[in-house]
Symmetry: D3
Subunit: 338 residues, 6 copies
């Protein structure tokens, strides 16, 4: 048996996190330079938010490449990687205010869908178990099944609302005859009960998918969704108002925010796998996530479907990086009561 394989196997057996030492496309440094932590160091760490990557794209049906997303998102900035990002409107540095650390990437296995999802779920659960907020960098949208399940295992099935920005509902019954893929995570969450239909708010849907039978199922599950045509007609502000109200109903413990970068128009965010024209502007998305994170209790979040091979001048990776920062800003403002 070869040495490299032995080392790999030993490592894989031990821990659920990998680095570039084992997967070449894993991230090699932390998000904007925040402190690096190991999963087993979290318990006593004062940090409130834990960033992790899920370099997984074998759930895609069309253009792959999102495996390079976590690395690209972490590095997409022109500023020093010093873990300090004071928000211009408020002067608040969310990284310091909340305490944000980065535990690297989950040890996913290329081509292994279910095993990889299990590992992601486990890591997210372990993070949430420490009372901290996991913020996952994808990866394709398949991972949200793992991400939200991990959070729900800790905070209770049915106790977490999911606010979902996306061009697509991702509620497919199956995907190429498989249960798990980037077109089905929301269905699986509803079915498992981790996030029941009435806990969903979807924003930015458009295009020609899924088909009416699926939309009918979504309605039957009491899922709330806002099409781009709704947003054009009623304004994003109103939509977000309603999302806040809807997501706060009935004793929910908090929300998980899932941002598929393709909610933004592909003309502004080309680096993604299943582009659907006619989306939000970057500005709209940034404002919306910050406001949500300020007005609701965030229990977890992910930013997915950034595919660097299709990006130009890294603009999509930059946008995803800022989506993370604006979520953190909203959380920091809430914490400080500003």
């Amino acid at each position: 048996m070869s040495t490299q394989y032995e080392r790999y196997q030993r490592r894989a057996a031990e821990v659920p996190l990998a680095t570039a030492e084992y997967i070449a496309f894993a991230s090699r440094d932390t998000f904007l330079g925040v402190p690096a932590r190991r999963l087993d160091q979290l318990t006593d760490d004062p940090a409130e938010v834990v960033i992790l990557g899920a370099p997984f794209d074998w759930g895609t049906t069309y253009r792959p490449g999102a495996r390079f997303g976590p690395k690209a998102i972490r590095e997409a900035d022109y500023g020093a990687m010093d873990g300090y990002r004071p928000h211009l409107p408020t002067g608040i540095d969310p990284l310091g205010t909340l305490g944000v650390v980065d535990i690297g990437d989950v040890f996913v296995v290329p081509g292994q869908v279910e095993l990889s999802l299990e590992r992601i779920t486990e890591v997210v659960e372990r993070v949430a178990r420490t009372g901290k907020v996991p913020l996952v960098l994808g990866g394709d949208h398949t991972i949200t099944f793992a991400d939200a399940t991990g959070v729900a295992r800790v905070h209770g099935f049915g106790q977490v609302a999911l606010i979902h920005f996306d061009a697509h509902a991702d509620t497919g019954e199956h995907q190429n005859d498989q249960l798990y893929g980037h077109g089905t995570p929301m269905r699986r969450l509803v079915e498992s009960g981790a996030v029941p239909g009435h806990r969903f708010v979807q924003i930015g849907l458009r295009g020609y998918w899924p088909e009416p039978e699926v939309v009918e199922w979504m309605r039957s599950q009491d899922m709330r969704f806002y099409l781009m045509s709704d947003i054009e007609e009623r304004g994003l502000r109103t939509v977000v108002d309603e999302a806040v109200a809807y997501a706060s109903r009935g004793g929910v413990k908090g929300v998980f925010i899932s941002v598929d970068i393709d909610v933004v128009d592909p003309g502004m965010a080309p680096g993604t796998g299943t582009p659907e024209p006619g989306g939000l502007t970057s500005r709209q998305l940034l404002d919306a996530v910050r406001r949500l994170a300020k007005e609701l209790v965030v229990l977890g979040a992910d930013v997915v479907e950034v595919s660097p091979p299709y990006d130009t001048a890294e603009v999509t990776a930059y946008l995803a990086n800022r989506v993370v920062l604006e979520i953190l800003n909203g959380m920091a403002e809430r914490k400080l009561g500003v």
Copy 2:
């Protein structure tokens, strides 16, 4: 005489449609997988809309490449090519509702402007003659002279309104000393009487062309046009309201919708030949064409000036594909009375 040339000649003499068997840049499959038809099969076909390509770009004055447009537009999707596209807001599948077939590309000849235009005109006319709506994928904007003329030959000169989305008025007197080119089609249509000036509504004009003498001529012909500055000031909704009203006047039989993709801001739709900053957003264009196709009788349409060599991650081709779908959606909604 060589075999290849003989075959080419024989084919060219026979029919006005070519495939990649004769022109390498012709499309090799149908729009999103709708059924393929031959021109001579249309009469008894129940389909109401016929898609055809015009891979013609030798009417451009600057960046060429639109010859690859029809192929790129037909293929620009991440979904299965199954001829089924249910619209998310309504559940209506316009492809099935209307019956949409694809007859491939017109047998244009690179470098031959007038011969190519004649062939396009002939094919469009023959399609319209069957009572179906021709929807032409360009190609540069020169082809609209052929497209609209073909429709007018069937429905009557002066009986068809032309709603024209574009950054440019395309009413040049001549182009490099020639009558036909992508800067002159609207002038030729007015002059020939196929579409008189008072049947024109132009939306999205901006920039520094054409010069005042030409604008003066446009006004003298009673052409209606809306600049981007008008749209910014008065709102696109109002402009579309007026367009509907204007295009419905005086016993017109219906409209031809011509969409130059450069009406959208080049930052969002870079794959085009004569980019003019400051345009519509993708969202605005998609909403506008659907609404027009719903509120008016569409007799023909074209989508032009997509130049794949200048595109990034195919975002412009995707946008053009969706423009086609949204026009079809409007038509389907009108048909179903929703």
Copy 3:
């Protein structure tokens, strides 16, 4: 249950071949316009060579994208798609001389490694069973395990030599803890006995992988391999001479030629997933495969690891297209005895 899913399931149960109707990234037309056939039409068809695609890239460890390879390779030409390509040096049209047809792409399932490999193996076997030569367009190199196994099932385990152009030996013991992937196909072939070690000739290896234990294993299996340093020193001509001799030993029935496009220098063939600098020139590869196909009995072939998202101006896809043509030319020259 949704309509789309039902249709997909029904189709998947029926046949092992898919088209873009089921997988959006599948090819939509045939290789350079050769006639299309269904798998069940082959028996009575006079064609001697059958092209098929395997749009599979979930066996990659690094850059994905080879799922778009079959489509890109089939279309990479500036000539008419008329199934006629007379070779300039001889005037022979290998497509017509041999009879070449295209059955489209295997119905692979994104993210499902073993199921997909089984389907590829089955299709290749069924093609070979008809006495025709399967020529597979990849896809990542994982598929060669399926391709060569399918051929060996018909012509006999141990009865087929494998000539393998590659920067990498692809003899890894495991890959990320899995048996199947693009780093292990040759190991699996040796282990299963489909192609024993002494039937292997590898050409173009270089770089820093696999590790010495694996190279030792390769030697223990009597695999023959030529490093780029050997080629630089002794000349490619000599290496090919030896390859012909080695592959002809001991009553072998014929050869399977497997070309990983990364055998060519990444500076000349950038569109690939695991580029290793210092490779062959395009010219060298084209000459070598033609000569091999002329001097040996070809029982099957594949061309793999073309990743269009990383290509520039399609140069890598063009090269792969010509590798296919040169293999066919060699076969045609052999057939005609020129």
Copy 4:
């Protein structure tokens, strides 16, 4: 001593302007074909506006490339380079109406920050001294210290307001331990008194820089700034109204307009060095600068931070070209009183 070096030195000693004869990345023709002039020919020339380039990017902290900006901006058009650009809304040709000439690029020295700034300052001053309006094509934003200082030397320190479109405030105390760089020009202008803080209006700021201490300093200097969040909330129209009012206060002689192209969203303007998501649309910027130039007395302007290596299909260079034209249009409308 070598001949080339001797020629270079002789030239450098003589005049502050260079051409491609001395710096390969200098522009080789004039802005849209306006007449070329030498600096010493300006005095008696009737032109009111003088375009010059500052191909300087060694003040950048991250992505360089803006040295190719002046050339790219001058050439970014699909129309004939004939110095004639009638504005579609008005028919006014600002190039002819104002008289616009181009004196080429300042003879900057790669890697020499201060010497280059001195030369830029000198040229701008000499242009302003003739009573004409200098319009500088950058280059990175470092040059605005030179540009505005050159104008202030003529019109008086403290007598010129500076309206600054940017994602960044550029008021850093130092940059990598240096005084001059693209993060500090506004600080230096305030400190030198060329443009005191109360003469500043900044529009479009966003993101996470500069830090609170610097923002505090900005406030202490009475600098007026509008964040993107302000613009979203109150509308750009209102913001521009206030900018006009603020910039007109207290006997100011006129304004200098400085446009950092990164004020526009990087999704729409990717060709820049320090992209900050969430910016203005192209349309918004074009409308704003035209209105400002119409309502205020423009004494100078610059357009900076266009970095062609990061651009796609030249869309960012086109946008910058139109920013220049819209400023000129505003000035022409003011001159004609329309």
Copy 5:
């Protein structure tokens, strides 16, 4: 009649040369900064070589874009544009030694094939008439019919040999039913007698075109051609030896060198329209043209098929620029007798 059109028409009637003032894609400066001349200034000018551009690509059958070739080739250098390029091996500056001037671009008309060819022919003839050597920057290969005809009109039909570097023979009988295009120029030259078949030497041919009937015709005309397989087998040095001997036979007055950049492998020269894998290296081409220009009397030359939209980092334009310089170096060495 509009002003712009009037100016255009007046200009077009007057002279056969245009600039960017009339055609936006025309070059705006001279080749590497050599002196600019007007066509009517040549007679008394001591220069021996005259560079001109033919921004013509409407003779292409596949990818267009070569209209941007002349501009790109002229500018493709990192050195100062000072008209001075001492060759490293010899110290000779061919630009100064020979006297090289640039008269700009021929006033071609987009979409007008024959008119454009006539103008090119006329300009080349007028240049050759002054006793100078025309060196034409293309443009697609259609122009060689014009270029070589213009030279032959002066030096005598049948008196000029044509050495032709190309992947393709360009001897098609027709092209899409037309006489003129980039696949037929050599046929037309043979037929017209300007360059009879026995005066042709073609180097670098490969691939699958033209078909045997055409190759047979080439042989019947006594055209000499070297395939890449010949070059691989016998060495480029030998081939060039033979080319020199063949081109010198029978009282010929000199040679015209026509370099289609696609003779180089597309992996090294991607910016071209009809890429054919398996070509020369850049080094081989540069050495060959210099040697030919040194050993033969050059009466004219062209460099064609550079298509900037498909280029990467301008490498193809740089290569074409150096092909021009190496031809000039060979001529200069011959002149100086070194």
Copy 6:
């Protein structure tokens, strides 16, 4: 004074090495995962080779971007970042055999040429002082003045030979009136005596620079150089033989190998700033450096002029990574006596 600036200043005062915490474009991880070390930890470390980066490109005269070189070169691999790279021909892992560590990037200051060079020199000297071999990742070629000077300070002025792979001699007298830049480092080294002319061997020169006066000076200094035309004629093997002999003369202590990536043909290595067509192939360069490092005592090395913004699919960065590995392989083979 702002916090960020204070931190920066404190850091800058302390140590000569920076990380991405201070310069955003600095590398964030080590070369292929070798162990990270601080400069002050080297003395007792058993490692024999120390990798460091010099992200400096403000010495370029044309295209910048090499500041991103060190990061790109370190990461350019598809294998796990585990510091283990067994060479396929020998099985030797040079990283482990030699002991290779990475100390990160020198704390250079954008826009400050001399200060940056001083810091680089100091770090290289301190590394060499520990008896280890510094291997510097550039950065533009200006840094070789610092790199080789740092080595010479330890091993003695005039005691180190410099083998220099490059398209350009880099012996310019001045560069834009400055002493230091990427066109002058070799001149400065000769003048200072760090590396006298007779210690130079330059390989791969070509093109049109420097001018004859400078070449004359090179000869007067007894510099040995091989043009590409020499290599074509005599073979690279012979040239390397002579280089070994020349570099070993006269009691030299060892060699410094400086590889400008533009020695390779730009068609194969497009990501560089001053591309000169007609260079070596990647294969040639890799073989040459390995052989030199095996046959000579390497005291230091650098790999420069990789400019990622101009690269395609990272092929140039990959090549540079392999150049480093091949140098290390040669050193490891020498150490082990194989």
